[in-house]
């Protein structure tokens, strides 16, 4: 078992009333799974991903990641945990505009204090694997959306995470680029990386081996 959510509640107060963003979510994820979270805008997909990614807090419930009780960890220990095991991929790619492709991919390694020579080797592997060696000195603004997302994925993978969280990874891409990215996820999953993606699209969701439907912060039964 990679992670386990037990009765997670997250709410904000609006005019004295609780508005639930996550309402009693429980979820078990095994290593090697590829899960798609579906639901309309505002259903809580991103919030759920952020909670799983430990970027966001929740008010009630338990979260156990790799045997560690995340809900009772301190901020510092939590960030250590997600740095070690989780990679993020975003709809808007979120590359650093002032850094080149190479430097963007390298960034997570810098924060892990990995030696320069080793960093070089790791980044070179990644560039090679995604076939973007020729683009390593370009800045994000010089790339197409699909290429930017490739870099985003490369960056998420570089630190060898156990889990990849992807929030609408193809939302800003055309269908052909989107398909390529999904194929890539499938390959990665086949190599043993656990993936949780949030998506609008039925066809993208179908790449996963399990689909979770969310509506207004609650898990829905399969329609």
């Amino acid at each position: 078992m990679l992670l386990q959510l037990n009765h997670i509640y997250k709410w904000v107060k609006q005019g004295g009333k609780r508005v639930f963003l996550l309402n009693d979510i429980s979820l078990d994820v095994e290593e090697g799974e590829f899960i798609s979270i579906m639901g309309p805008s505002g259903s809580g997909k991103s919030t759920l991903l952020n909670v799983i990614g430990m970027l966001d807090e929740f008010q009630e419930g338990e979260y156990i990641f790799d045997g560690e009780p995340v809900h009772s960890l301190k901020e510092k220990q939590r960030s250590k945990l997600y740095k070690e095991y989780i990679g993020f991929v975003f709809q808007a790619y979120h590359l650093i505009d002032e850094l080149t492709v190479y430097e963007n991919i390298e960034t997570p390694l810098l924060y892990k204090n990995i030696k320069s020579s080793e960093r070089k080797a790791l980044v070179a592997d990644m560039l090679d694997r995604f076939n973007i060696v020729g683009k390593k000195d370009l800045f994000p603004a010089q790339l197409s959306g699909g290429q930017q997302q490739l870099v985003g994925i490369a960056r998420a993978l570089i630190a060898k995470p156990k889990l990849i969280l992807a929030d609408e990874p193809t939302g800003n891409l055309n269908s052909k680029q989107g398909e390529e990215i999904m194929e890539l996820f499938k390959e990665l999953n086949a190599e043993g990386v656990t993936i949780i993606q949030a998506t609008h699209s039925e066809s993208n969701a179908a790449y996963g081996n399990r689909i979770i439907h969310l509506l207004d912060g609650s898990k829905q039964l399969q329609p």
Binding site: L55, H94, D97, E98, P108
Partner: protein
């Protein structure tokens, strides 16, 4: 890691050129102003500290009671140094250094054409170069001044008199009342600019006993006042009190009734705490202004970097998600800040080097360029750099590292209320400083104008003062006659000294005030009153009053000082044994600094012929020449010079305008005014740049809002007003805060003046309006640009 941070800082800088330029440029300008002032202040404070033993070199002073006034004297009898040295083991050596108080005429005997009038001629004991740390370029430290009629020249003087020739062994003739021949035995390096002693010519003091003019100075061996400024070097600074006591005992031994109080004052204190503080009067204000300007630049930096932070929020979010801790983000921004500060610092060093000569000529200060490498100054600079790095990096690092990644990544982050408020405070503070400086600058300027225009009881315009040396001799009468014949000249007058430059002090008493009381004396001729526009209170009945034996004319202040009757004509004043009858009273006129109330003065009036031969010719005096208001002055001066050289070729022609002489008394105020002018410009520049950048930023941030408003039908004018008004509110607030502050400080400053201008309400209004116009110009540029932009674009990018 560090490389990565520096790289991204650099790329950010290149990407946002304008805001980067304003951030760094503003800081650089502030730092430049600050270093220039620190440079000046450090220099002023370093006076005489280059002497190896500067902490134990003292000048001997005596406090003397004269007619009720306590006066400090620094000239001692020739034996004082030696006597003290013998009596106290704490004195390791002593030195006498006597300056000529009048210029001497020096001629290179082998080239009689090389002749100049020299002011800085001194006599020193043989141990001069051992006692002080002045360096000899040529000659033996121990022996250069040991023989009578030896002379050491400064480098500049060696060049002036001998060109590239070696001056050692050459002879210079020095003309005083008599002429003496001195042999050049050494050349010393030019004295540093932070030396309070700067002899150009240094003669052996052992020459003096055989010089007629000084014979009498060696008559007495008693410990008392005399003619020689005397310096002592103590073995240890703590011995100061003991040595002072010894001197007091020696004084009593010499004369049991002596009441003079002897003391030692550190040579290094002489410049800043000396009796003549006019040069250094505002030395304490300058650092304050420097701090204000630096503060302005720092505030500017701070406000711009929080603005920039908002643009960087995405990057920070990405970094955090990719594993950056708060610490590493803070560190990154510290690195970035440090890099910017170093850029600003380098830029400011470059600016300093370029602007330094201009700045100091503006302030009328000369400082050796080598002082830039002075240890203390470099230390101050390093501290300044360190402080700036700490101050500028602290806030951005703290704020940015606290950004929450989820919030930042969701959408482009809007400024938090707190930061918004901080930026508002920053802008207000900047403009408070700028406006307060502006108001103060205007008031200082008004005060200077006011003082220059004060009726001082003399008609100062169109009068030139020509100083004559005794080399004029009997030629003074034909000289004066020819000057008077010039068509532009309306009248001339004679006095012993130029006005504002000095007077003789006599001791006088009246029946009502029998104690001898100090009274300034002017020895003049009868044209003095007419030529200088002195007005009579009571004019003597007899036109030729001066032909009477020893009459005296006094001013109104003298009446009260000597408690004379309301009409004192016929009463008399006693000067020692000679009694002088008061024949006339003049209205008070200023003859010293305006800060002091007008002192009593007595005028000894001579007939024109007698004054011309005796005062002007024999002893050397001052000829006042009043010319017609519209005269061609350069032409007049050259005519006067021609006449002058015809009658006295030994001494160069020297003159000064009376109103210039008056103005030099306000040198320190003038300097202050220049500094203010400069800093008003700087403050406005920095504040304006900051405002411009903030307006740009604010327009960027509100792009979407503006787009929506425009789609809904808002006009360009309405949008411009909307954007500008936010800023203009702050400027109005700044005016409200700055006005009373400036009023208070200027009011305090004016208290130091005897004559003070009134502070007008329109100064505040004008300064406020000026700042407002500046603000409107900077803000509306951005606002109009934003208002004109196509709304479709801004709405799409959201």
């Amino acid at each position: 890691m560090l490389k990565n941070y520096i790289k991204i800082a650099w790329r950010n800088l290149v990407k946002n050129k304008l805001s980067g330029f304003i951030t760094i440029g503003g800081l650089a300008v502030g730092l430049t102003a600050c270093t220039q002032i620190l440079f000046y202040v450090a220099h002023e404070r370093s006076y005489d500290s280059f002497h190896t033993d500067s902490d134990r070199i003292y000048a001997v002073e005596a406090q003397v009671n004269m007619g009720g006034d306590s006066i400090y004297m620094n000239s001692m009898n020739a034996t004082v140094g030696e006597l003290t040295e013998n009596a106290s083991p704490a004195v390791s050596s002593s030195l006498r250094l006597k300056e000529e108080y009048k210029p001497v005429i020096i001629t290179n005997t082998s080239q009689p054409g090389t002749r100049f009038s020299e002011k800085d001629f001194s006599y020193a004991d043989a141990n001069f170069f051992d006692f002080f740390s002045f360096k000899l370029k040529n000659g033996n430290t121990a022996t250069v001044l040991s023989k009578p009629y030896s002379l050491v020249l400064s480098e500049d003087m060696a060049k002036k008199y001998f060109g590239n020739q070696n001056p050692i062994g050459e002879t210079l003739s020095v003309r005083k009342d008599s002429t003496y021949l001195f042999t050049v035995t050494g050349v010393m390096e030019n004295t540093p600019s932070n030396s309070s002693l700067h002899p150009d010519f240094l003669a052996s003091l052992s020459s003096m006993p055989t010089m007629k003019e000084f014979e009498r100075d060696f008559d007495s061996e008693v410990f008392r006042l005399g003619a020689f400024p005397t310096y002592l070097k103590l073995t240890n600074p703590t011995a100061k009190n003991a040595v002072e006591n010894t001197m007091q005992k020696l004084s009593i031994q010499g004369n049991a009734e002596a009441s003079d109080v002897y003391s030692l004052s550190l040579l290094t204190d002489k410049h800043l705490n000396g009796r003549d503080a006019s040069n250094t009067r505002y030395i304490r204000i300058f650092p304050l202004i420097a701090v204000l300007i630096l503060l302005l630049a720092l505030v500017n930096y701070l406000s711009l970097s929080t603005a920039r932070a908002t643009l960087r929020s995405k990057e920070i979010g990405v970094r955090k998600v990719n594993g950056a801790s708060r610490k590493s983000v803070a560190f990154q921004f510290y690195v970035e800040s440090t890099l910017y500060v170093i850029f600003a610092f380098l830029l400011s060093v470059a600016l300093s080097v370029v602007l330094n000569p201009w700045f100091f000529s503006l302030l009328d200060i000369e400082i050796d360029a080598s002082f830039f490498l002075n240890k203390n100054f470099l230390l101050i600079l390093t501290c300044l750099l360190g402080f700036t790095v700490l101050a500028t990096g602290f806030y951005p690092a703290l704020v940015m590292s606290a950004f929450n990644p989820v919030e930042n990544l969701r959408s482009s982050r809007a400024s938090k209320m707190g930061e918004e408020r901080l930026r508002k405070v920053c802008t207000t503070v900047q403009f408070v400083i700028a406006i307060a400086l502006l108001i103060s600058g205007i008031i200082i300027h008004q005060q200077l104008d006011y003082v220059r225009g004060v009726d001082t009881g003399l008609n100062r315009s169109d009068v030139v003062m020509v100083t004559l040396q005794n080399t004029m001799g009997t030629n003074s009468t034909p000289f004066r006659n020819e000057i008077e014949k010039l068509s532009q000249v309306t009248s001339t007058a004679v006095a012993q000294y130029p006005i504002y430059k000095g007077y003789n002090m006599f001791f006088a008493s009246s029946e009502q005030v029998p104690d001898a009381t100090g009274l300034p004396i002017f020895s003049v001729d009868d044209d003095f009153f007419k030529t200088l526009g002195v007005t009579w209170e009571t004019k003597p009945d007899d036109e030729n009053f001066y032909s009477k034996s020893d009459p005296v004319i006094i001013n109104e202040a003298a009446i009260s000082k000597f408690k004379l009757g309301p009409n004192p004509i016929g009463e008399s004043l006693l000067f020692g044994n000679s009694k002088r009858e008061i024949v006339g009273v003049v209205k008070d006129f200023h003859f010293e600094n305006l800060d002091a109330p007008i002192n009593a003065v007595a005028l000894f009036v001579n007939s024109k012929t007698k004054a011309t031969t005796n005062i002007l010719g024999k002893s050397g005096g001052c000829l006042f020449v009043r010319f017609q208001p519209e005269s061609d002055v350069p032409q007049l001066l050259s005519k006067m010079e021609t006449i002058y050289t015809q009658y006295d070729s030994a001494t160069p022609f020297e003159y000064q305008f009376l109103d210039d002489a008056f103005d030099t008394m306000f040198r320190s105020e003038e300097r202050l005014s220049h500094v203010f002018n400069l800093f008003i410009i700087l403050a406005m520049l920095i504040a304006g740049m900051g405002l411009f950048a903030l307006a740009t930023f604010s327009a960027q941030q509100r792009m979407k809002e503006l787009g929506v408003r425009k789609v809904l039908g808002a006009s360009v004018l309405q949008l411009t007003t909307l954007l500008s008004f936010d800023f203009l509110k702050l400027i109005l607030l700044a005016i409200l805060i700055a006005s009373p502050l400036a009023w208070y400080f200027m009011h305090e400053w004016l208290q130091d003046f005897n004559y003070k201008t009134t502070i007008h309400w329109w100064v505040f209004l004008g300064a406020g309006a000026g700042a407002l116009v500046l603000a409107i110009l900077t803000v509306s540029f951005q606002a109009i640009k934003a208002a004109l932009a196509n709304p479709v674009k801004s709405l799409r990018t959201e």
